[in-house]
Symmetry: C2
Subunit: 531 residues, 2 copies
């Protein structure tokens, strides 16, 4: 639809006056189309939102390529700022806002070891692997910084696909690990990518690795603190002033604006906006969302989910159209065979790099939890699923690759163009092929879970709760009710007794109840035993 | 807060890398500040959101002026596209979405005569008045097109201020007239402004006025039809596919995207996006919002209100900072006295131009409704309030003035700079002085209404319903419940018997119930007598 209009208007005089109007219209029309197709394919659980968006993008790209007679497949020129300033923040904030905090913090150490140590291991393996094999394939011209960047680019995972298939209630540990790692991993990759940019390669010595790690720790901690601070300030302001008294609109506006401000402030101070906005989201859902009116609470949850959803679809749609960018293909220094070789090498090291930390770290986690007797250990089947869940590369990889190898989406350097096209191929291949295979794999490994899923509880990440429950559910799901907590506490008291994480968690809850909640808001847990 | 950070970072290296980050951060921080101050001043009903935003903007402008040592007062450079593509659509869409359709359509003819004929009369008076008096004040250099543009620029009103003080339940007719006119008037001004741009002054003859009018009618009708079409398509798609089955997020996304698409399509076809998006909003709230899940209905209403709120605050904030733009003041061809004279002339003709249609058209309306005996006639006091309500000039005036007299917010022409500064002065003066006086005036003319308002039912336009009711209210407020309707119908049956508008309305309702609602969605009115 949009494309037909575009063809007609490409030569329109308006194009000169409002250059943005045409691409925005076309892109929104395609986005709508994508939503409708995604909905119609909902029951077909082999494809998912990401795959739909990429395919629709590719088709649109083809149509535009034909209309423009082979000149361009793009509707919008890739804008790194568009991605990092407008599209990424809502996605990450929503992840923080919707995360089941209890699960997340129960498995905090495991998630962190996967999400942080894992990225380090994966980055090292991919960097060294590509540095070792690329020249042998005749692909030369990349600097040491480029190789390290490649390592971080291909260490960021896209777990949406797997999350859509896993069942949160049946395998809570697995679900929370995959979800948690997906979020932390994104943040770590971006932080590490930025840390790599700061290495001075001319004065490289033994300290460099330590410097990168120190830089990483500094970025990680300050970003987290900033996010927590903004989240707490928002909660405090909302609680003290109680905007809802006069206007629910203002409550919502302040939540959205403060969330965005946290990201921008982090960027201002050269920190990691992605981490800041994630923790800001966690804090907002933990405190701030209790200080607003009921309707604002429902609305905020849906608004953040919607913004995240649109941003994600937008990115995959872009990746789809970008796959057909002739200019980059022509500029690339590699032949078709060479491109295939390089992409295969990257994919192989992606597989290897992930295996190299998932299995050892799982074994380590199981060892740490050896005193617990219940199903809390990560079985080998679960390890395979965790490994598989992080094989898909997505929007963050693309964005980082564009940041490293292009200047505002354009590159004239053959080597850089080759890297961009290879990134696109790896993202397309992993999303499409690995994505398609996720369902059968999970079916095979967890037969029961999979069968449960056919009833259509998809898209967990953005909508926890079926539509019918939605009006009331958020009031419960933000934090489980007292009675549920009590039962859970009884159930898991024996299990958790010997875990150090649990002790920290218990002290945190005491502190939270006594000092934090009275100041920053949240439901009281008075008539509930301290578990 | 934001400003302190800015000072520190103005020279930061990041500024070069991400030029947008600093101004966006500062602007968002100031927006948040604005919200908080607006909330704190809530009980003080002499000031309103617009006045707060302008004053905060002016203070921020002063601070920035001092920091930059007199170079600039701007955080963001005015971008006509930013306004017309991103800020205006949510405001107008929200107006259409939240409008009480029943009231609006009951008084349709009166609202249309105020909003359309009124703008024509006002435009003619202001254009001729300024054309006659400007040269006498020594202000020369404006073309005929400029004078006509000035007429339309100063015919667009900003009724938010009055709406915040009027009480919808006590003076329903007055409220719906002020609100309805405010919306139609915005649209008419923009459409007329665009029609003026198309006049060929070199071949001016008797047909020109007719051509402008024809052009206006064409733009008005096609834009309306496009808006209705997009609204109906959205309703139909939502009803047929029932997205909520799988994902409430998708429902919301499709509503937001289609609303925006309607605006962009209108702009693409050189129509009036403002009218299109308004009617799209009306249709969406009349049909589409019944086809979504309950939580989406609540969410959509709040989301649109929030987006509109942020956009409005943003614009007034901008006007505030722009008032201190030294460059424009220096470029202006007018002395301080000359500027005062020109501004006074404009303000005088604004007063006159509005009086010239409010009183005659009110008398005409009363004459048409002479058979009805109840309080449905517009009393003289009400006429004064309607007149006063439209004296404030706001965001649309500023935007149109920038469009006419600057190129992306910058002008080097002394005459154009003078017009921009004069527009700013008129907007500031009318918003601040007339805005401040609205409360006492309404108090004086409608003593009972005013006293009612001190309980704090402000900001009607964006939040109908106090926070406590919010979670359930939307389900009722979209269309009154059957029993209410029945009582109302009984009450007003005698009143409406003799009005032609009523007959049209009755046929429309029959048609709506029989054909439209079954196809496009909406509650059934079966067990309810046809009033």
């Amino acid at each position: 639809m949009g494309v037909g209009i575009t063809e007609f208007l490409w030569k329109n005089e308006l194009a000169a006056e409002h250059p943005q109007v045409i691409p925005i219209s076309v892109f929104i029309a395609i986005l709508c189309l994508c939503l409708v197709i995604g909905h119609l394919l909902e029951e077909n659980r082999w494809v998912n939102e990401s795959i739909t968006a990429i395919l629709v993008g590719a088709v649109s790209g083809t149509v535009i390529l034909l209309i423009s007679k082979g000149k361009s497949s793009h509707i919008l020129v890739f804008d790194e700022e568009l991605f990092f300033i407008y599209l990424l923040p809502p996605i990450i904030f929503n992840a923080g806002f919707q995360v089941k905090k209890k699960k997340f913090f129960h498995n905090f150490l495991t998630i962190m070891s996967f999400g942080v140590i894992g990225v380090f291991i994966s980055t090292v393996i991919i960097s060294f692997g590509t540095w070792w094999l690329f020249p042998k394939l005749g692909f030369k011209g990349l600097s040491a910084r480029d190789y390290l960047a490649i390592g971080t680019i291909f260490s960021s995972t896209d777990t949406v696909c797997t999350l859509q298939i896993l069942h949160q209630d049946e395998t809570p540990l697995l679900y929370s690990l995959v979800f948690g790692e997906g979020v932390v991993n994104d943040a770590t990759s971006v932080v590490l990518f930025n840390a790599v940019q700061k290495i001075h390669f001319e004065s490289l010595n033994g300290w460099t690795a330590l410097q990168v790690f120190g830089n990483f720790l500094y970025l990680f901690s300050t970003s987290t603190i900033l996010g927590i601070a903004v989240g707490l300030i928002t909660a405090f302001v909302l609680k003290t002033l109680y905007f809802g008294r006069h206007s629910t609109t203002r409550e919502l506006a302040i939540m959205v604006l403060m969330a965005y401000l946290s990201y921008m402030l982090a960027e201002l101070f050269s920190l990691s906006g992605i981490l800041t906005v994630f923790f800001c989201g966690v804090l907002m859902s933990h405190y701030a969302s209790y200080n607003v009116t009921e309707s604002s609470r429902i609305t905020s949850r849906h608004v953040f989910a919607m913004m995240s959803f649109i941003a994600e679809t937008f990115i995959f749609l872009y990746v789809g159209t970008d796959a057909l960018d002739v200019t980059k293909w022509k500029t690339s220094s590699l032949s078709v065979g060479g491109t295939l070789g390089v992409s295969s090498v990257i994919t192989a090291f992606v597989l290897l790099g992930r295996a190299a930390f998932v299995f050892p770290l799982s074994v380590l986690t199981n060892f740490m939890n050896r005193h617990t007797e219940r199903n809390e250990s990560i079985t080998f089947k679960h390890q395979v699923i965790i490994w598989w869940a992080g094989l898909m590369r997505g929007a963050v990889s693309i964005a980082l690759a564009f940041k490293q190898f292009t200047y505002s989406g354009v590159t004239l350097d053959p080597v850089n163009a080759a890297m961009v096209t290879n990134t696109t191929i790896v993202v397309l291949f992993t999303t499409l092929v690995f994505g398609f295979l996720t369902k059968p794999l999970v079916n095979y490994l967890l037969p029961h879970d999979a069968s449960h899923n056919n009833t259509g509880n998809r898209g967990k990440r953005t909508e926890p709760g079926s539509p019918k429950e939605d009006a009331t559910l958020p009031l419960l799901s933000f934090d489980e009710s007292a009675s549920t907590n009590f039962n859970r506490a009884k159930d898991s008291i024996s299990l958790l007794m010997e875990q150090p994480v649990y002790t920290i968690h218990r002290y945190w809850r005491k502190f939270d109840d006594k000092y934090m909640r009275p100041i920053f808001g949240g439901p009281r847990r008075e008539n509930q035993p301290e578990c």
